[in-house]
């Protein structure tokens, strides 16, 4: 006789992984569905191929661009620009956020100015960036770092200024000096906010790179997009969009996966 519990457990072992596997396949099916639907839209002449190329044509164009060595070079150039803007902008934002979040004087001095500048869409600063810095790399760095600055600053500010009062009381009772309170209490407590801001900053840096690469460069996904439009090459245009999507998703996931373990506690708390 097999005890009932054992039989159930064996059943469970047999069925559970199968259901999990099916579930894991859903994204694959949904993606395949989108590609098929896209293909049908063109083949049924709902969209003209000159506006919407078939998936096959896009893959061909991407392969062709890759053979010419442009696609990878463009992606790398765009990524490098986005990264340098991200590093400069977020480093400044974290320092300023730590100041405005902690110091009442710094907040009073900086907050009004920043609040006035903040609602301006970063894209609207493209002409200003060109006026000040020309169309070279400095102009792109200025625009991207400024765009990255605001989401990172706002989130850092909120995180740094919202430390739970009783955590600060624990630190005060222990007689902890200011720098220890900052590095061991305020900063770790704010980290989930800061990482959220940085993630928004990554998205912002990619948006601004595409905008700023419309002028003054000969390499980059934004530049290649504009070229494809200029020469009416929808297949290349879509290949660039696809590459942008992949670069963005990779950067976002890479960041999220490498940092999430530092803030796992904030999800465990909930």
């Amino acid at each position: 006789m097999v005890p009932a519990t054992l039989a159930i457990r064996q059943l469970g072992v047999a069925t559970v992984p199968k259901r999990l596997n099916l579930f894991a396949l859903i994204p694959v099916f949904s993606l395949a569905g989108v590609v098929v639907a896209w293909d049908l839209l063109v083949h049924l002449h709902i969209f003209s191929p000159s506006l919407l190329p078939t998936p096959g044509a896009v893959v061909e164009a991407a392969a062709e661009m890759n053979r010419q060595g442009t696609l990878l070079g463009d992606a790398t150039a765009s990524f490098r620009r986005a990264l340098s803007g991200f590093v400069v902008g977020s480093a400044a934002a974290i320092v300023v956020g730590a100041l405005t979040g902690r110091s009442r004087i710094a907040r009073a001095l900086l907050e009004p100015t920043i609040q006035v500048i903040r609602p301006i869409p970063a894209i609207a600063l493209v002409p200003l960036a060109i006026l000040w810095f020309g169309i070279g790399e400095e102009s792109k760095l200025f625009l991207t770092s400024l765009g990255v600055f605001f989401p990172v600053w706002v989130n850092t500010h909120v995180g740094i200024s919202s430390t739970r009062e009783d955590y600060l009381r624990v630190a005060a009772c222990a007689g902890a000096p200011r720098h220890q309170v900052f590095t061991s209490v305020i900063l770790p407590a704010a980290l989930p906010f800061i990482l959220t801001g940085l993630r928004q900053g990554i998205a912002m840096s990619l948006i601004l790179i595409v905008a700023s690469e419309q002028a003054g460069v000969t390499e980059g996904l934004g530049f290649r997009l504009d070229q494809a439009r200029l020469f009416s090459q929808p297949d290349r245009l879509f290949a660039c969009l696809l590459a942008l999507g992949i670069v963005g998703a990779l950067a976002d996931q890479l960041f999220h996966r490498s940092t999430s373990r530092f803030v796992r506690w904030s999800r465990e708390q909930a």
Binding site: Y167, C173, G175, A176, V185
Partner: protein, 262 residues
């Protein structure tokens, strides 16, 4: 007021809106005493503790500690909070090490001190690397006590520390606090709204009324040890309990009566 211990003179605390949370409190707590502060919620007992800790500035009057006016938090007055406030991002060991580092205990000695403190609160030293969310409520509160003890405080201020725990765990935690008091001679001020808890642990019970004043101070004559399962049968338990209840109730009547007239 030069005596060792805590002196409270004409202490008044008002929050915004000029409503008095504490109204003219006078109280002396000798060094080494174990005092429970008993009162209904909203009577200002937590504010009293926060003022002794130095978190809250008095509007009027003073809190003295060993003869000096309390002007802010200090290592000599450790606090165990209502909810445990362990840092959720740090391991048990790192939570205690935070206090040790603040007290400038050399790095080489911290590991040993952490083990000693964990043993003192009845926890296995293996949990050093665990994170707070992996522990039960009772264990977390034990770590909280260990962290408060890390600075060898002269006074331990406990703000309804076991209110959120189940009855059995609460009894065990009471045992722990009684043991710590007997072994270390630390002054303990223990806030509670539970009459039986106050009777079981403290040597004197300060009863607070709704108006933020002291309704009465009752010495607790029950001999120690006071086992949880037998203390209720001790001579003097029932009268003491009745006396405390009467004090709590009389004050409420007074409040209701004055409330009707205004």
């Amino acid at each position: 007021m030069i005596a060792a211990g805590i002196g409270i003179a004409d202490l008044t605390v008002e929050y915004s809106g000029s409503q008095k949370v504490l109204d003219g409190i006078d109280l002396t707590i000798d060094a080494g005493a174990f005092v429970a502060v008993l009162g209904p919620s909203g009577c200002g007992k937590s504010t009293l503790l926060n003022t002794i800790a130095g978190f809250v500035r008095p509007t009027g009057g003073h809190v003295y500690f060993n003869g000096a006016v309390v002007s802010g938090p200090s290592r000599e007055r450790g606090v165990v909070f209502q909810r445990d406030v362990l840092f959720p991002w740090a391991s048990v060991g790192a939570n205690i090490a935070f206090a040790l580092r603040a007290a400038k205990v050399p790095r080489a000695q911290r590991k040993m001190r952490i083990d000693t403190l964990l043993k003192a609160v009845g926890l296995p030293t293996e949990i050093t690397s665990r994170r707070p969310h992996e522990l039960s409520g009772g264990m977390r509160q034990r770590v909280g006590i260990a962290r408060a003890l890390a600075n060898n405080p002269q006074v331990l201020l406990m703000d309804e520390p076991f209110g959120a725990l189940d009855a059995l765990t609460r009894t065990q935690m009471q045992d722990l606090v009684i043991d710590l008091w007997e072994q270390t001679g630390t002054t303990i001020i223990f806030i509670t709204h539970d009459v039986d808890e106050a009777i079981r642990i403290a040597s004197a019970v300060v009863v607070m009324g709704v108006g933020g004043s002291i309704a009465g101070i009752i010495e607790n004559p029950l001999p120690r040890p006071r086992p949880a399962d037998r203390v209720a049968e001790f001579d003097g338990y029932a009268p003491l309990r009745r006396q405390l209840h009467d004090l709590l109730r009389s004050d409420q009547h007074l409040e209701e009566a004055t409330g009707e007239h205004t």
